[in-house]
């Protein structure tokens, strides 16, 4: 057989020239690099959102504080909520999905690598646009769910006459379309790109949660898109969809919002469940207990997620019957969720547990998430909700599930998968410090909020008078934020330091169970030199038990005569197993993201010709992506399967 250099000289030469520069990142279609860019940008947004929270708690540390103005406080809690949900936690999860999921199913990339890059740049464009609002007349100020009619301006919310809420509308629209495309991409990847032998019931649980999350995204984001579109007409074209003074219906916004919003909170927690389900078995050295019931539980949760949205609206006067129905469906969710908790505990039971930082965060997750779950059931009791609604009790609840849940799982996942991304381990010594300080800081910050809520402190207040019995716990809560911040700074330092000085990890530092650990760390750009053959659940573990600990290569029968096969030999790696065909980098996704951003700003400032021009250009770009015949290039993997 011909040698590599005779075969593809030009393509290979081009590759080595542009392998590592900044341009190679901006134009990449590699799922791992895209994932890492999600993670880095989401971490930056997390720091922004954390700073906003810090300022709020500083203000609330003492009664009658005036560090920030009331208008600014409104903008702070709004931007904090939006940032944490849409620009930090969700993209962090999407980042890990990108990095890990294709590896876990034994694929070379996601189903549509270039669309994946489009998603990334749309998310980034939307986030950048939202944050530019701080410098362009003021950030949105009507809360993360932006209720009508205060979102339409006028007497109810003079502050919203600025552009702020229009930034909310267009920024989230652009980022949201990116997320929707990710949902489609991940669903198709999991359904169609699994390695031979990986039946649905052999998929790692993380992959299952990604599948269900993606399906939730596909159906939950469109109502949000529609809602934002309608609000855009209200704000830019003076319609009155949500404005009762024009005959509009303010509750319509709430309905459409929560049809999206409740599934959204499951989008934020499901992949976290998946991460915990990877970490706990690995460090307990046991297979996941009750795999089948786990799968069943997430499917039930996803199903129920679409039937409970009105529990956010108990106090809007829907009536006793409707309230009771939605209270019942909401409480029903506690059942499959409880099943999962018991399964994780049963997995640990009798296992030989290794208390790595990753495992500690997983245990911390169990502890905090149960507290959040219990306060959730209390809120689901409609009569009690009349008391708790819009109080600090609710603030405590959301942070127990979102920090104690999603964020702790993300910490666990970071300590677990960092080596697969970088080739180096995070420092365990700093990690333990990181864990304990975050755990203490988190509980000191948020547990007192339960008391504050029961004592009647409403959420979203910029200050409170002394002598109401609120001062003490508010003070304690802010002290907690200082501790929490220290913990997060240690984490950030650990990331930076270990990137350079961390211990070299090797392919499988945790003696783990799934496919991503069968390849070198960091994962090579082609992932698997040869597509592995999956012979059971926990594919790598099966080979450790029944084989020589390495994956067997699968013999793939690919159908010929499929698309583009006549343009270039897409299946060259069959004839010559040492060549892997890769898609080329392209700047088009980046340009598309920029185009969407230009359209957004043009709409905001009512420069209609530019908005239309930019949109037409975007559609032209989409057609270019559709017909662009990519010859790709070939790489020669080092070593074989593992």
């Amino acid at each position: 057989m011909a040698t590599l250099s005779e075969r593809m000289p030009a393509a290979l030469a081009r590759r080595t020239a542009a392998e590592y520069g900044i341009w190679s990142w901006l134009t990449t279609v590699d799922h791992k690099r895209i994932g890492i860019m999600y993670l880095v940008s989401a971490t930056i947004f997390f720091i922004f959102g954390g700073t906003e929270a810090f300022l709020m708690r500083l203000q609330l540390m003492r009664p009658e504080n005036h560090i920030v103005s009331f208008q600014l406080f409104n903008q702070l809690f709004t931007m904090h909520g939006i940032t944490m949900i849409f620009l930090a936690v969700m993209p962090l999860l999407i980042g890990y999905i990108n990095v890990v999921m294709p590896l876990q199913i034994g694929a070379r990339d996601v189903a549509y690598p270039r669309l994946n890059a489009v998603s990334l740049w749309l998310f980034f464009a939307g986030g950048l646009m939202l944050y530019s609002s701080w410098f362009l007349g003021g950030a949105p100020n009507a809360g993360w769910y932006n209720y009508a009619p205060i979102n339409t301006g006028g007497v109810l919310n003079p502050g919203s006459d600025t552009l702020g809420i229009s930034f909310y509308v267009l920024g989230l629209q652009i980022a949201g379309i990116g997320t929707l495309l990710s949902g489609i991409n991940f669903t198709a990847t999991i359904l169609n790109l699994r390695a031979p032998g990986m039946s649905l019931m052999r998929m790692p649980l993380f992959v299952w949660t990604v599948l269900i999350t993606s399906i939730l995204i596909v159906f939950a984001f469109p109502p949000f898109t529609a809602n934002l579109g309608l609000l855009m007409f209200d704000r830019l074209f003076n319609t009155g969809f949500f404005d009762p003074s024009k005959g509009g219906n303010a509750l319509l916004w709430q309905q459409l919002f929560w049809i999206f919003g409740h599934p959204e909170v499951y989008i934020l927690i499901m992949p976290a469940f998946g991460m915990i389900s990877e970490v706990v078995p690995t460090f307990s050295r046991k297979p996941l207990f009750g795999y089948t019931t786990m799968v069943f539980a997430i499917i039930v949760i996803a199903f129920l997620a679409f039937m409970v949205w009105s529990h956010h609206m108990f106090t809007t006067g829907m009536g006793a019957v409707v309230n009771s129905v939605f209270a019942a469906t909401s409480m029903a969710i506690a059942v499959p969720t409880g099943v999962k908790i018991f399964n994780w505990i049963a997995t640990m039971w009798g296992g030989r547990i290794r208390y790595t930082t990753s495992m500690l965060f997983a245990i911390g997750f169990l502890f905090c998430f149960v507290i959040g779950g219990m306060s959730g059931v209390m809120l689901a009791a409609a009569p009690a909700d009349y008391q708790f609604n819009d109080s600090y009790f609710l603030v405590a609840h959301i942070h127990y599930v979102l920090i104690g849940g999603s964020l702790f799982a993300l910490f666990a996942g970071t300590y677990y998968w960092f080596p697969k991304m970088t080739g180096r381990l995070l420092s365990e010594r700093l990690g333990k410090l990181n864990f304990w300080i975050v755990l203490i800081g988190f509980n000191v910050t948020f547990f007192p909020m339960h008391f504050l809520g029961i004592d009647g402190m409403p959420r979203r207040v910029a200050t409170y008078p002394p002598g109401l019995g609120l001062s003490f716990w508010n003070f304690v809560s802010t002290i907690g934020v200082f501790i929490l911040t220290a913990g997060i700074l240690i984490f950030l330092y650990n990331l930076r330091d270990s990137l350079r000085n961390g211990e070299i990890a090797g392919p499988d530092p945790w003696d783990a169970r799934t496919l991503e650990w069968s390849i070198p760390s960091p994962a090579p750009e082609y992932n698997f030199a040869q597509i592995p053959l999956v012979r059971g659940r926990d594919a790598l573990w099966v080979e450790k038990q029944h084989g020589d600990g390495r994956m067997l290569p699968a013999q793939i029968v690919e159908q010929h005569g499929d698309h583009d096969a006549d343009d270039h030999d897409a299946h060259q790696h069959h004839a010559d197993r040492h060549l892997v065909h890769m898609p080329s980098p392209t700047p088009l996704p980046l340009i598309l993201g920029a185009g969407a951003m230009v359209a957004g700003y043009a709409g905001l400032y009512r420069v209609w010709w530019l908005a239309i021009l930019a949109l037409v250009a975007c559609f032209y770009g989409i057609f270019r992506l559709m017909y662009d015949r990519d010859p790709g290039y070939y790489v020669e993997p080092k070593g074989d399967v593992g």
Binding site: A111, Y112, L180, G183, I184, N185, A188, N192, L193, A195, P196, G197, S199, M201, V218, F219, A220, F221, P222, P223, T225, A226, G229, L230, F233, T239, G240, F241, K246, G247, G248, L252, L256, I259, Q530, L533, R535, G536, R537, V542, H546, L552, P553, A554, Q555, I556, V557, E558, Q559, G561, D562, H563, D564, A565, D566, A570, R577, F619, M626, Y627
Partner: protein
């Protein structure tokens, strides 16, 4: 990489899995289906909005006063006919009759253009008859829903045109390997037609009845 290895039984007794991976074309098709599913949810939201607000006429014209069923029936007919011609075009593709394929694609695009043209005419007519976009919530929700569908048809026309260009520009001509491109576009086109049937029923038929 012997045959034996591939058929190695699974230790847990489960299935050895599909030996045949889906082709990229099949995977792309799956993506289109998912996209259409999410589009359904989008249209459902807009239809729900219309149903919530269509009574809010704010003293302006109502559906009964304005809607002209015969005219809408003509455009509906044009769109449904375009589904048929799209089918004929795909038939031609199957027979590798590229000339016929082009012909029928042009006819389909023209029928789509007639639909969009009639819609623009209709919007114009309503606007001058006192039902402009901001006149009432009935007006706004009507224009948004129907207009959004009109944009879908327009995008479909652009897609057809792009495929027509593709048939001329593709080096080596259209082969079996390109069929998926046409099939996916037709899937989208049928979807847009079906959505119109729903919109026609909900807005025009029920609107006329009251």
């Amino acid at each position: 990489m012997s045959e034996a290895m591939h058929t190695t039984p699974a230790p847990d007794g489960g299935p050895a899995g599909p030996p045949v991976l889906p082709t990229p074309a099949e995977t792309t098709k799956l993506g289109i289906w998912l996209w259409l599913a999410s589009d359904c949810a989008l249209f459902a939201s807009l239809i729900a909005t219309y149903l919530t607000l269509h009574g809010q006429t704010a003293g302006g014209p109502t559906a009964q006063q304005l809607f002209d069923l015969p005219l809408t029936l003509v455009s509906t007919f044009a769109l449904l006919l375009s589904s048929v011609t799209m089918g004929v075009a795909l038939e031609a593709l199957q027979k590798d009759d590229i000339a016929a394929l082009r012909r029928w694609l042009v006819v389909t695009a023209l029928l789509g253009a007639i639909f969009v043209g009639l819609e623009i005419r209709e919007f114009h007519h309503y606007t001058v008859s006192g039902l402009w976009f901001q006149r009432s919530d009935f007006a706004s929700s009507f224009y948004v829903l129907v207009g959004f569908h009109g944009l879908h048809v327009s995008f479909g026309i652009a897609w057809i045109l792009s495929l027509l260009i593709f048939t001329f520009r593709k080096p080596g001509g259209i082969t079996r390997a390109d069929h998926w491109r046409f099939e996916m576009m037709s899937l989208y086109w049928y979807f847009v037609d079906v959505v119109w049937v729903v919109i026609f029923t909900v807005i025009y038929l029920l609107g006329k009845v009251g």
